[in-house]
Symmetry: C2
Subunit: 120 residues, 2 copies
């Protein structure tokens, strides 16, 4: 994943309304929710929701699927996990011990790339 892609995804999530939509969809699982259901659940104007859904879809964080007059939106778990992998990969690349223990960022046992020390 390129930095530009990561920025796009992070920007999509870095907004109260969109993060709310995304989390709602994440909790719904693969089946997702129709746009109208999302709007009702979060109290959003149709135009506003549509704008944010497009943003999330463009960032590969949600997917849409049409069923009759309804359009169902579901979290794109693959896209989300790519973003998480991008972030954790950078975390662990430096120094395993630096990553908090018990976190999602597991230490790398053998640091092949020597990160040079800067003495303060």
């Amino acid at each position: 994943m390129e930095q530009k892609t990561a920025v796009l995804a992070l920007a999509a999530l870095a907004q109260e309304t969109r993060l709310g939509v995304f989390r709602l969809l994440v909790q719904q699982g693969e089946s997702g929710l129709a746009a109208g259901e999302i709007a009702a659940a979060l109290g959003l104007a149709p135009a506003t929701l549509s704008f944010h859904l497009k943003e999330l879809a463009h960032a590969r964080l949600v997917r849409s699927r049409q069923d009759g007059r309804f359009i169902y939106y579901a979290a794109d778990y693959a896209g989300m996990n790519q973003l998480l992998a991008f972030l954790t990969e950078n975390c662990c690349a430096a120094d395993g011990a630096a990553c908090a223990p018990g976190s999602v960022c597991a230490p790398v046992t053998k640091p092949r790339n020597a990160s040079r020390k800067v003495k303060p």
Copy 2:
């Protein structure tokens, strides 16, 4: 972590310059880099860098430590991991199988609240 806090952190990372700074610091480990070194490494104007560092620090993604005339900035691994935990927690809360296999988002088999093993 509250949603507002997560939005703050995500917004801090959702910007090309800041994500660049953050990743640079993550790779430097706990020792960090002086502001001037960061500016030189990324070719940023002092005022611009200062603005972004403040943003990252406010989001608890970097920490600063003064040493003489220099101010060293280092990634705040704890803060970063809290953000990751927030995202993965929401991911897994829905349906373990929904999370991509081999991702950082491990399926929860039983509500034993185990933030442990991540797929190698």
